[in-house]
Symmetry: D3
C-alpha cells in the first residue's frame, strides 16, 4: 500500500467492496464461538465514523498484538447487513502511528491555528490588572500546555468537536467579549477576559485527542470545570513561589467565573453565577457554543430537506432554509 | 401645599412624622369595624415603595370619591409598628393627574430617550431585505406605537423596570447584535436585527405604566410574546393592503424568533429556538436583561455589605465587591 | 397493474416476495458507492408503515424525476435483514396522484364526517353571546377552512391521528362540554363552546395531510396554539370591517382559553389557565385525547398479551384485559 | 353570655375591642418570662380564621385545664400590632362542646347533604357487575362510615374544604361520569362509577374535622390514597367471609384507579394511570376539584378587583371579570 | 437428547450452528405471509439472554400447542443478521417443566439461602416490642410466604435480579442496620428491623419468577410498596382475631416506613420519610441496592475496559479500575 | 456588669424589660430620619437567635466605632411589636472578644472533641495503601488545619450546625463505614475511609465560625466541595516536593468521591457517583446528616405536639411521637 494512495473514508465504503486501508481499531475483544473457534470483534474508525469488524479464525497472538486502541492496516471485505456495513477482516497488522495521516482520523478546525493564537495573545494583553495579567502570562508561558490548548477539541460531540476547537471557541468568545464590553461599563473587563481565556483550559486534560476524541479517565472522574480550577490554583501557587501573589479575592472571583460558567446545576456547574462577570462569560460561552452546534448540525445534515433530524440536546429539529436568500 | 415643595419619598418617611404630600393610592377597600364604624384600608405609593394606610372614621362618600388607583393628597401621621411604617390618614383629597410630577411616581431611564430612539432607527436601517425593511418601517411609521415604545418599561420588576426601559433594552440589544454579527457570518443579520427590534414590542400592550407599573388585563391573559406576534401579523396585513407582501417563510422565521426568545418552555416560550438567528436573539436578550438585573440589584442594596440579599429569580445572593479596585 | 388489484400494504409484505405496487416515496437521496456507481436510498410508505428502499445502478435522471415526496409505482423484491425488510427496487415510475386510492395512504376516521360536522354546527348554535356567535359563524362561513377542518388529523402520532381526527376530537369535546356544563353553573358556557370549537383550529395550518401526516414548515416554527390565535384575530378583524366588533375583553378571554389549553408550560402553553372556562377546556381536551390515545394503543397492539408495550408518552404500559367481561 | 348572642367572628374583630365569646383554642403553650412570670401563648380560632392570644400572669393550673385543642370562653381585649390583631386574654374557661354552635367553627356545604347522598346511591345503583355492586353495597351498609362520608371535608385547604365537601365532590364527579360515559363506549362504566365512589373514601380517616380541619396522625403518615385502598381490601375480605368473592383481577383494576387518581408521581400517586378507566377518574377528579378551587378563590377574594391574588397552587392569579355579562 | 448433555446457553451460540436444546419460549405469535403461509415468531430465552426465533411453514396446531410462555425443545439452526443472531426453527416440542434444569433459566444467588434465612430469623429476634415481634413472627410462621420470600428476586433488572435476591438484599440490609443502630441511639431499633424485614415483602406478589423474571398483572397495577402494606395489614388483622392487637400508632409508624422507603415521590413512594426510622430504612435500602447494582454492572461488562457502558439508571458510566491494587 | 452574671439569652427576653448585657452586633447601618436625625439599625444576636435593635439619636462616631460584626455591651429596653421584640438601645460600647463567653454565642457539640479526634486518628489509621496513608497523615500533621477541623460546624443551618459539628459528623461517618465495610468486600475500604475523612474538609474554609455561623466570601463563591478538592491537591503537591507521589489514578478516585458526594447535580455535585466507593460515601454522608437533622428538628420543636412544623428542606413535617414507648 503506497503512502500516496488516498484514504478510503469509512463513510465512503459501499457494500461488497474490497478493503485495504489504515483504520483506527477500538475495543477489540477476543471471543470464542461455541465450537471453540476464536474470533475478534472490534470497531474500525476514522474521522468520518466507525464500522463493526469481525476477524473469524483469529488467534490469541493476533489479538495480543493489537493496539487498544491504535492504528492498523486492515485487509478484508465489506458486507452489508440491513442498512449497516460490517468489515470481515482477513488480515490485520499494526501500523506505526508516525506513518499515518492524522488528519484522516481527527477533524480539524478550518481556521488558521497560529493566527488565532496570536490574536488571543493580543486580546488578553488588554488585561490591565497586574495580578490577572501575571496569571494569564504564566499560562501563556507554559509551552507544553499552550500546545495542547491549540490542539484540543472544544468537545467530544456537541460543539467545536475538532482539533483546534478549544482554541477557536476561546478565540471567538474573546472577540465577542471585546466587542460588547464597552456596552456594559459596570462589568470588570479584566475578569471577563481572564475568565474566558481560562474557563475551559481543563479540557486539555479532560479530553483525549491523539487518535480519536474521548474522555481521559481523569477527565471523566473530575470534569473540565474543576480541572480548570485546579490548573488556575496551581499556576497561582507557582507565581507565589516567585513572589507574585494573586490576592484571594481576585482568585475567588476568577474561580467563581470558571465554576459557574455552565449556568445551571444540572449542567455540572457547582455554583450559579453571582457576579455580572460570571453572567457575561456564561452567556458568551453558551451563545458561541450553540451557534457552532446549530451551524454544524445544519452543515452535516445529508440531503436537501429544510429541516435537520431531531437534535436531542436542543429538544427540537433545526430549520435550515435560508429564507432571505430565495 | 406649594408646587415647589419637594416630594417626600415613601422611603424617606420616618416614624412619628407629620405627612402632607401627594401619593398614589392603590386598592382602597372600605371596611367596617365590629362597632359598625367604617374605615378605609389602602396602599400609598410612589416610585420608591409603598406603605399601608388607614383612614379611621371614614364615610362611604370619601371612599367612593377615591380613584382606584389615582393620585391623592394625604394629610396624616406616620406610625411605626415593628420595623414597618403605617400612615394614619386624617384627610384625603383627589388631585388632578396633570398637576403631579410623574417622575416622583415612575422611575425613568437615566439615558437620553430621543438619542436612543434615533440610534435605533439607524441600527435597523442596516436591514437590507426589502420585506423585513418594509415591515420594520411600518412599525416606525406608527407614531402612537413608537411613543409607547419609547415610554414602556422593560418589565414590572426584574429588569429595566423604569419608563424608557423597553427602549433602552432594545437599543442595547441592537448594539450588541451589530457588534457581534460580523463574528457569525452564517447568521442572517437582517432577521436578527428585525427580531430584536420587535421581540418585546407587545410589552407596550402588556404593561400599564401611566401611574405605576403593572399588567393590563389583556397582558396578563395573553402575554407580550404572543402580543408581539399579533402586532407583527397585523402590520404585515396592513402592508399587504398596500401591495407589499411579506412572504410566509420570512414572516414565519421572524415569528419564530419572537415566539422562542425566552429559550425555555417554562419561561413562557411556546417554541424552542430552532434557527441560529433565534438562538442569537435569545442569548442577547438574556445577557442584556441579566446584566441589568444584576447591576440594579447591586445598586439598590442598602448598606455596604459585600453581598446583596437573596435574589429569588437568580437562585443566589450577588457579590458586589469590586475585587480589582482595591 | 390493474386499478382493481388490492393494494399490498407495507405491513403485509413478507420476506422474499416480488413487489409491484404503488407507494409513497419519501426522502429519496442520490448517493454514490466508492466505485462511483450511483444508487438511490429512499423510504417507501403507505398508511400501515414504511420500509427502506434501495435502487442500485440508478441514474441522476431517475433521481431527478422522483417526487419528493410523491406516489410511485415500485417494481422489485423484498429482502429480509435481521427482522426488518428492505425493498430492492428495479423499476420506479411516477404516478399521477389523481390515480391513487388515498385511503391506502392515510388512515381515516371511522365516523361519518358530514354528520359530525352537522352536529358541531348545532352544538355551537347554543352560543347566545352575539359577539362569540358572530365570530364562530365567521369561521363556519369560511368554506375552504371548514373543508380543511373536516379533513385535518388531530395529530401526527399520539391521538386522533387520522383524516377527520380534528373534527372527531372537536365534536366529542363539544358533546362532553354540553353534557357537563349544567353541573357547573358558574362557568360561562358560551366561552367554553367557542373555546372548544376554535382551540385546535390552527392544526389545519400546522399539519400537512395530503399524502402523509407531517408538520408544515410554518407549523413547526409557530405551532397550532399560536396559529389558532392568529386565525381568531384575523376573523375578528374581518368582522370589524363589516361593523361587528368583538370587544377586547371577550377576545382576550377566548384567546386565553386557546393559549392555555395545554395546561402546562412544558406542553407548549405560553399561559397557564386563569379562568374556570380555561380549566374546563383544558381538562376536556386532555380527557378526550388521552382516552383516544389509550384505546388506540390498545387496539393497535398485536398479539393477545394483557399489556401493551411501553408507552413513552404516558410513562407506563397499558393494561387491556377487560376484567368485567370474564 | 347568652346563647342567643351572635358569635363575633374572628375576621370581624377590630382593634381595641372588648372580647367575650367562644373560640377554639389551639396549641396553647405555657412559657415563662425572664422574670419568672408564667404566660400562655395560644391560637384562638373559628371558621373565619385565627388570631394569636396571650394570657399574661397565667398559672400552671389554668394551662393544665385548657383543652388542646378545644372550645373556651375568652374574655379580654383585642390589640393591634402592625396590621394584625392579637387578643390579650384576661379570663379563659372551658366550654362543653355540646353547647357550642359547631357551624361557627366549621364551614359547611351549601347543598342538601341527604339529597346528595340519596342521589349518590341512585348513581352507583347503575353498577351492573355483581362483584363491584356487592363491594359498593358493603360500603353503603356501613352506617358509621357513611355518616363520616357525609360529613368529611374534601380537603383541608384547597378545594371542597368544608363539612360535606367529600360528599359534594363525589356526588358531582358521579354526575359528570354518568353524563359523559355514553360518549366513551369502550370505557367500562362500572369500574368508573365504583372508582369514583371509593377514590377518596380514605379521607374519612385521613382528615380530622370535629373542631377544625386538620390531618390525623395516621392520615399524615399513610395518606388517603393508601387508606382508601386498605378500606377497599378490608371490605372485600368481609365479603369473602360471607361467601362473596371479588376476583383479584377486578379488585386490582379498581385498586389501580384509586392508586393512580392523582395522575402524577409528584402528587402522591404511586402508580400512573394505565387503563382508560383510571384516566377518566383522574380527569373527572381534577376537573371537579379545580373548578371548585377556582370558583372558591374568586368568591373569597375581597374588594372588586378583576383579579384575585396570586394562587400558589395554580401558579397564576385568577381573572374573575365575567366578560360576557357586561 | 440426554439429560446429562450440558445446556448450550443463548450467549454461547455462534452463527451457523445447529441448535438442539431446551429453551423458554416467550410471546409466540402466529402470522401469515402475504402468500398465505403461516409462520411463528417467538423469543427463545434462558438466563443468559434471548434470541428471536422464526418457524416458517408453521401450522395453527403447532402454534396452539405452544406454552405462552413455557419450556420447549428447539431443533434448528442459528443464522447471523448484522451482529445479532436469529434461530430458524425446524422442530419445536413442549417439555414438561419438571424435566428442565431451572438453574439454566433463572440466575440464582451465590450465597446459601438456608443460612441467610436462619440469620434473618436471628436478626429480627432482636425485636423487643411485643407487638412488632408478634407481627414479624406471624410472617415467619407463614410457610408458603417464607418459601416465596426465599425464592423471589430483588427486582427484574436493576439490582439483586436473581432467585434469592430478595432474601439476600433483606439479609444484608438487616446486617447493616444491626451494625449501625448503636451509633444512632435516638432511632427506635425495633421499628427499623421490622421495617427492613417487611419493606419489600410485597415483591413476592409483584414479581413472577417461576420461568423468567417479570411483573404479575397485579404487581404492575398495584406495585410492591402498596402490596407490602396490604400484607402487613392482613397479618395484623389475623393477629387481632387471635386476640393480639397491634396498636394503630405502631402500625402507622411501620406502614409509614414501607410507604416512604423509596424516598422520593418520583420513585413511587406516596409519602416522604417523616421519621428517623423511615430515613434510616430508605438509606440502607438505597445503599445496598446501589452497591449491588454497581458491582453487578462492573462484573457483567465484557472486555477489559476501565469503564462500563453508559448506565441509564445511574446517569453515568462506571469506573471499574481498582486503583489501589496496581 | 460582673463576669459572673449569667447571660440573658435572646430567646429569654420578654417585653418591657431592661436590657444590659453583651451581644453580637451584626449589619449595623447608619440611617437618617427625614428630620435629619441619625439612627442606627442593627441586629443583636447570641446562639439562641437575633432581635432587631434601634439606637435613636445616634452619631456617626458611635456608628464608626461599632464592629461589623463584633461583640458589644448593650444597655436599653425591650419593646414588643406584634409578637416580636425589638431592643431600643440607649448605650452601646465595644467589648474585647477575649472577655466574652464564646459558648453564649456559638452552640457546641455535646460530645468530647478530643476523644472524637483521637478516635478519628485511630479509624483512619486502618488505611493500608501507603499513598492514601501519606496523604491523610499530611492533613493530620497540619496543626492549624486540624484545629479548625475540630472547631468548624457541619453547616450553617441544616445539620450539625454547632462548633465541633464537622468533627462529630466525620467521626460518626467513619464509625458507620467501619461497621459496614465488612459487609461489602468489593468496596475498596481505604478509599472510603480517606474519602470520608476529607469529603467536607473544605468547610473549614467555606464557613466562618468565630462569632456566628456564616459563609466566608470565598466559601460562598467556591463552595466546600471544590475547596476540599483544592486542599487535597495542595497536600498532594506538598508530598511530591518531599518525594512521595500520590499516583494520578489514586488521586482521581479520591477526588471523584469528594466531587460526587452530594449525589445529585442539583445539590451542587459537579459529578455523579461512578464508583462503589463514591456511592458508599454519598449514602453514609446523607444518612448521618439526615438523622442529625431529623433529631435536631424534633428536639428544637417547642410544645408537646406530635408533629414538628413544616420542614422545608425535607418536604414534610416530622412525626416525633415515640410509638414504642407508650
Amino acid at each position: 500500500m503506497e503512502a500516496m494512495m488516498a484514504h478510503k473514508f469509512i463513510n465512503e465504503i459501499g457494500p461488497g467492496e474490497t478493503v485495504d486501508d489504515i483504520y483506527l481499531v477500538r475495543e477489540p475483544i477476543l471471543r470464542s464461538t461455541s465450537k471453540g473457534d476464536l474470533y475478534i470483534a472490534m470497531f474500525l474508525c476514522d474521522k468520518t465514523g466507525q464500522l463493526s469488524g469481525r476477524m473469524w479464525q483469529a488467534t490469541e497472538a493476533v489479538y495480543k498484538a493489537l493496539p487498544k486502541p491504535g492504528f492498523v492496516r486492515v485487509q478484508g471485505r465489506s458486507e452489508l447487513y440491513q442498512n449497516n456495513l460490517q468489515i470481515v477482516v482477513n488480515n490485520i497488522s499494526v501500523i506505526d502511528p508516525s506513518k499515518i495521516h492524522i488528519e484522516d482520523f481527527l477533524a480539524r478546525t478550518t481556521k488558521d491555528v497560529d493566527q488565532m493564537f496570536e490574536e488571543i495573545k493580543k486580546l488578553v494583553a488588554r488585561i490591565k490588572n497586574p495580578q490577572l495579567k501575571a496569571l494569564v502570562d504564566e499560562f501563556l508561558a507554559d509551552k507544553e500546555l499552550m500546545k495542547n490548548f491549540c490542539t484540543a477539541p472544544g468537545g467530544v460531540k456537541l460543539h467545536h468537536d475538532y482539533i483546534g476547537g478549544l482554541l477557536e471557541h476561546t478565540h471567538n468568545m474573546l472577540r465577542v467579549a471585546v466587542a460588547i464590553l464597552p456596552l456594559y461599563p459596570d462589568v470588570q473587563a479584566d475578569l471577563v477576559l481572564a475568565g474566558i481565556f481560562l474557563h475551559d483550559i481543563g479540557k486539555t486534560e479532560e479530553l483525549s485527542y491523539d487518535m480519536a476524541f474521548s474522555y481521559t479517565d481523569s477527565g471523566q472522574l473530575i470534569g473540565h470545570i474543576v480541572k480548570s480550577l485546579l490548573m488556575v490554583n496551581q499556576k497561582a501557587q507557582q507565581l507565589l513561589t516567585r513572589g507574585m501573589q494573586v490576592e484571594q479575592t481576585v482568585l475567588d472571583a476568577l474561580s467563581h467565573i470558571i465554576l459557574s460558567h455552565h449556568g445551571e446545576y444540572e449542567f455540572g456547574s457547582p455554583k450559579l453565577p453571582a457576579t455580572a462577570e460570571a453572567f457575561m462569560v456564561y452567556y458568551i460561552d453558551d451563545l458561541d457554543a450553540k451557534i457552532n452546534q446549530v451551524t454544524s448540525a445544519i452543515d452535516k445534515e445529508p440531503g436537501d430537506s429544510d429541516w435537520t433530524g431531531w437534535q436531542n440536546a436542543l429538544g427540537t429539529k433545526l430549520y435550515r432554509k435560508r429564507v432571505l436568500e430565495e
